[in-house]
Symmetry: C2
DNA sequence: CCTGTATTGATACTGAGTATCATCAAGGGG
DNA sequence: CCCCTTGATGATACTCAGTATCAATACAGG
């Protein structure tokens, strides 16, 4: 069990990327996070942990991780771009508007809906994105808003 | 039939906004558009038509029109923010990746999917967004990519 | 008309994301 | 295990979307 043995290191290699210190550090920052986060959040995290990671590298690493589908980019209703850690299989996210945590929702029912829309509109649909916003069970219990 | 008689003027009044010259001009620019467009597109349109509309006003008007649901904001896969003209009822958009035109898709099937996800995750879902990308019938006919 | 107030637009500013480029380090071949 | 090639890094400077400010203006309702 080497520090090099991580599913993400493997994915990096498989895709022809180097498993660098900076990338491992960013992945580490991400796993310590709960809920969604922005690039700026990671910059702050790195700062406050005294890590010497360039801002550009954080943006670049997020791009790489998005391509590997280790994270997914969200477009929050506020217009902000955020990310969540993620497994690679296609699925969707239910995002808590209060605490930012998210749960996975599988694609099951949606696939049929998409096929329906293809038939109705005549488009060939290649890609879709579903984002769901609401309150998570914890935040619901704590009193709604 | 007065220049003041437009469904959007009515909607503005109803919501307590004034039907100003600048707003009418922006609405006009939008109706002359085909497919989705960015705020910057409208700034250019205004420029090239010699309209004297401040950049800030274009952003502000797009916000107002979004609130009135006369336009809807899209988050393109590229990360750009774009808009499409829209009727106010809740629905979704199928967007052509080649020409940018979009068709409406109603919410029908999706509603059940959302309810399912609520049950599976325990979240209370207040808002959802579905964006579909692909090729429109015209672009399909013209040869796919 | 007149007037209170929402709106405008010029200007300056913030902050996300990116281009550049000299320096560095990953990692495969010897 | 060490080199060398090449991809990656990070400091810096830059672009550009979106926003705050505020004096001047134009709606709308009376
Ligand atoms: Mn996920
Ligand atoms: Mn529409
Ligand atoms: Zn929550
Ligand atoms: Zn098309």
């Amino acid at each position: 069990m080497d520090a090099t043995d991580s599913p993400i290191d493997a994915a990096l290699g498989r895709a022809g990327y180097r498993a660098t210190g900076a990338r491992r550090a960013v992945v580490d920052l991400i796993t310590r996070r709960d809920g969604h986060f922005t690039a700026a959040d990671l910059v702050d995290d790195a700062q406050s942990r005294g890590l010497r990671i360039g801002r550009a590298t954080i943006f670049r690493t997020l791009d790489v991780l998005t391509e590997l589908r280790a994270v997914e980019r969200l477009d929050l209703p506020t217009g902000d771009h955020a990310y969540v850690a993620c497994e690679p299989a296609h699925h969707h996210h239910v995002i808590c508007s209060r605490c930012g945590r998210s749960s996975d929702a599988d694609d099951a029912g949606l696939r049929a809906v998409v096929r329906d829309i293809e038939r109705q509109t005549g488009y060939r649909i290649d890609e879709h994105r579903l984002e769901l916003f609401g309150l998570c069970p914890d935040c619901l219990a704590r009193g709604s808003t």
